[in-house]
Amino acid sequence: MATQYRTIIKDGLWDNNGVLCMLLGMCPTMAMTTSATNGFGMGLATAAVMAASNLLVAMFRGYITHEVRVPVYILIVAAMVTLVDLSMNAWMHELYKVLGLFIPLIVSNCLPLARLEAFASKEKVIPSLLDGLFMGIGFTLSLTAIGAVREIIGSGTLFADASLLLGPAFKFMEMRVLPSDMNVLVMVLPPGGFMATGFMVVGKRILDLRAGKQISMGGAHAVG
């Protein structure tokens, strides 16, 4: 059991990372990584939705027939997104003002759907919850990293406005790395998203090759 959990965690964070390995969820990845803080916020919201929907699908997996599974998955993801959206707007409004824009975008992310299909529909409740959670955290880390690269080169700052997202205690994270007249604006614009993501994917593969790992392509159906 313990080794299975280790594999799930490692898969989510690195080996089968949603963005850097499976290249899923590219729409929010490109749109929301204009800064490290934005990427982080989008990632967290996605992780919450992924954990919840993986859990639900694993719970009901005995009742969902093969023929209607895709509409049911979409229904579950959409319901979770709406639930998170409404309750954050009502009870965590300060956070919602920063994250609010990203939350409906989770529906357009195929990563939750891929994990439901590839993992939660076949596995028990606890492993599915873990898979959703760590796939989500892996997604968060990738988005934060891509956002950090784009932000440093594009605006010269790192974690700008982090205190708006995480609270005033995190003011210390906001820093200026490069002087403001050295910005390469294109990195914050859409082409920068493609460039940063591309180089990160290559970077991950180089690291994997160095470590002697086999590169697996299109690992969406990897066994958890």
Partner: protein
Amino acid sequence: MSKPTYIHGVILGAFCLGFGVILAATDRLTAEPIEQRALDDKQNSLSQVIPVSIHDNNPVKDTLTLNHDGKDITVYRATRDGKVTGVAYQIEGTGYGGEIRLMMAVDAEGKILGVRALAHKETPGLGDKIDAAKTDWITRFTGLSLGAPPVEKWKVKKDGGQFDQFSGATITPRGVVKAIREGLEFYAENKTQLLEVR
């Protein structure tokens, strides 16, 4: 599989019903707090353009709806001792990335009390300098009116006016300056109605 075909429909229907109920319940539960938050937000944006010292009422509650060019404009009024000391309303300009929504407040003499960008989709790093959080560009409108500077100077410098554009972004400030000028014209046209004591 010996399962009859309709069973799939029943399963899908059951899930829809179940999640439908959950969503409806959440919506009911959150409707009131969300409305309250929206009101708080409005109050917040109003307090940025209307100085607290000029009113003793709550401008969010003292509203007036005027029809202007076929559009209904909600005007928030600041009053002190029964007299209208300022009015605030939302204006729209067209920027590089689409509509720019701004909140502007004008005092009883027609001078601008303040302007803030509420929502826009301008390019980060170029057009988003209209945000008060990014630069103080938007604050330079405070105290100006239709006569000062004269109407023909209510343009960006590139068009022969007196307002700075940003390097690399002319369309955004052009849209904002135009929107503010139109906002002042709206005030001038409806002055009597706006300042009328109810």
